[in-house]
Symmetry: D2
Subunit: 211 residues, 4 copies
Amino acid sequence: MVRVKLISWSNGGVEDPRRLVVLAVKISAGSLRRRSASYYLNEYSEEGVSKWLKDAVKFPSVLEHIVFTFLIEGISRVTSHQLVRHRIASYTQESQRYSVISKKYVVPKSIMLKGYEDRFHNIVEESFKLYVEMVESGVPPEDARYVLPQAVTTNILMTVNLRELLHIACLRLSSKAQWEIRELVNLMIDEVVRVIPEIRDLIELFCREVS
Amino acid sequence: MVRVKLISWSNGGVEDPRRLVVLAVKISAGSLRRRSASYYLNEYSEEGVSKWLKDAVKFPSVLEHIVFTFLIEGISRVTSHQLVRHRIASYTQESQRYSVISKKYVVPKSIMLKGYEDRFHNIVEESFKLYVEMVESGVPPEDARYVLPQAVTTNILMTVNLRELLHIACLRLSSKAQWEIRELVNLMIDEVVRVIPEIRDLIELFCREVS
Amino acid sequence: MVRVKLISWSNGGVEDPRRLVVLAVKISAGSLRRRSASYYLNEYSEEGVSKWLKDAVKFPSVLEHIVFTFLIEGISRVTSHQLVRHRIASYTQESQRYSVISKKYVVPKSIMLKGYEDRFHNIVEESFKLYVEMVESGVPPEDARYVLPQAVTTNILMTVNLRELLHIACLRLSSKAQWEIRELVNLMIDEVVRVIPEIRDLIELFCREVS
Amino acid sequence: MVRVKLISWSNGGVEDPRRLVVLAVKISAGSLRRRSASYYLNEYSEEGVSKWLKDAVKFPSVLEHIVFTFLIEGISRVTSHQLVRHRIASYTQESQRYSVISKKYVVPKSIMLKGYEDRFHNIVEESFKLYVEMVESGVPPEDARYVLPQAVTTNILMTVNLRELLHIACLRLSSKAQWEIRELVNLMIDEVVRVIPEIRDLIELFCREVS
């Protein structure tokens, strides 16, 4: 149901944003007085890059220089309400105020397993039927939506830096998190792999550091 | 429906938090080298306090030293989702994950005016009936809630500083905002009056400054 | 040298801001549907309050509802530059742009121990002499200050919530922090004791949680 | 003196990060239900892109999806202290704690114009001489630096989104700002031109909106 696409990220000098972290570490240590920035962005060894990235989870502010933008489609409003609680990120969410929402919604597996799928569908269908009728007879969409179930889906554009993404991953990939947001964050991390191949290692190191 | 109570705020030396803004202004101007902090917190003229408060909307960071905590009860999840998008504030919201939600919900006036109240109630009643049944048969509340309408109410404890509160007021008291959040913010401002009598003037000045 | 005074904080219903944390925990758990807020603010047992406070370091967002305002006097610009790097707080700092700075400065002990005190004083005296002369002959204070040493003192009004204060304490009370900011944060915590007697315990628990 | 280089930014589908703003606007309006994201990222008309970018200053949260990373070299600690007060950005600054600082510093023009250049140089030279001597005899660099003037330069890696950059530009390009930070922000904006040609127009629109 949910679809996630990494559509944008910080691209450093050689298209490898991980080198921004190395540059940051080296600036902090005063190394820019000896070597140019382009050395760290282009020539510094690949092993060094990966090593610094992993070390950086201990002084994570340098990880903030890598930023990702994700297009997230088809999550429920239950989950979007959880997601936007992470305040150190930017969100643009599909509005239910002015546009009429299409009949798309999420059905939790536990509801199907217990045999409630048909009744769930029936009620959601009824809700959408009334929603559309109300809108057509002049109730503003922003009011008509009160009848819609929390299962209805939404789309979000989310921009977040690597430090905060690791923080979110620790909280939301945990078994304590609800399945839908866990699934969402997992898909986000899958996308990040093509930019930061060691992302799963970073998450493990970061979570160990903070708990 | 919605109830708002200001249950806590910054209390300066003489129980008048507005004097924190005066103190901040005077620290910035270096006046602490001539007068003690307690002068500004206790003896500075009431006229001076009110004047500086109004002037401060032009360099609003000093307004951040006054902080409020509101108990907000009975707003819909539609509105809580809007509220928590203001990132420079702290929220604790009633969880729908572990506790079973009681049958309380908001019905927009426009729905009543167009004669849809009965059908609205019926669907909401059905949703709650299925919700309770599912929970009783072992569906986790966090999943069962997907069937609940966005109209269901929630409770929030919100802590926010004066600068951000003015920002929120400009956006949410505007005629472009939806009625429920406008009502909510109006009630918040009503509560603030007993701490900052000139709050409505400050909002007017602040909104003029930023638009 | 440095002086710290807690001049304001969140005051809950019975003047005990720790109860705001209990209220937040109970709202999150849905308990407000059974008990009123005033029960948690006034009648809930003292043991319960202290227990929840300590438990809350594991889900620290509830700690954000307690906010402190500190008057900090006499720290060096070295240390103020470190302090304001903590972004989740509000600062009003004495400006060096428009007012003329008085000759107050911090001398690190290590400089005295190595016998450089006199030469340090001499250079600082010279700097201030030139600073005053330049200002008197029409150089703007904001430019004249470039000659002043980083040792010059400044005053700051700082507002910060308990969660961020614990985070700052973990970083800045550590042996890795520089002595001046460690001293500063220690004084801040000393002041907090009269509002939150168990603050030192909370710091210990919080630091264990995050490292 | 100061050098600024834009070394990284968000790169959207077709290398034009401005299209992230269009995508955000369209997601908010529900248009993703009719057109795919790639349409807005690749095919949407150039005129439309520029129009939406300018319109977006009125609902500026969508501008947060474009993020820039600047390498800033050679600003004084006077100016770095001002810069890092903008809290909605990420900074990695050269540390004076562990590395020995080289003798580079900024001399304000007003000091030269009033004929104080030689005395300024002399005092700064003396400061550095004592600084080096103290470090060599075992005073930690973090303490020895107290004698250094605020004129000493520093290097910073700064990551900031377009919304906050516009906010900073309004404040710091104003005639009320000090010359050095004005110069710095001007150089930052010059760099942004190659990614967002209409950046100067956006600043003008944004500043008009907020004052």
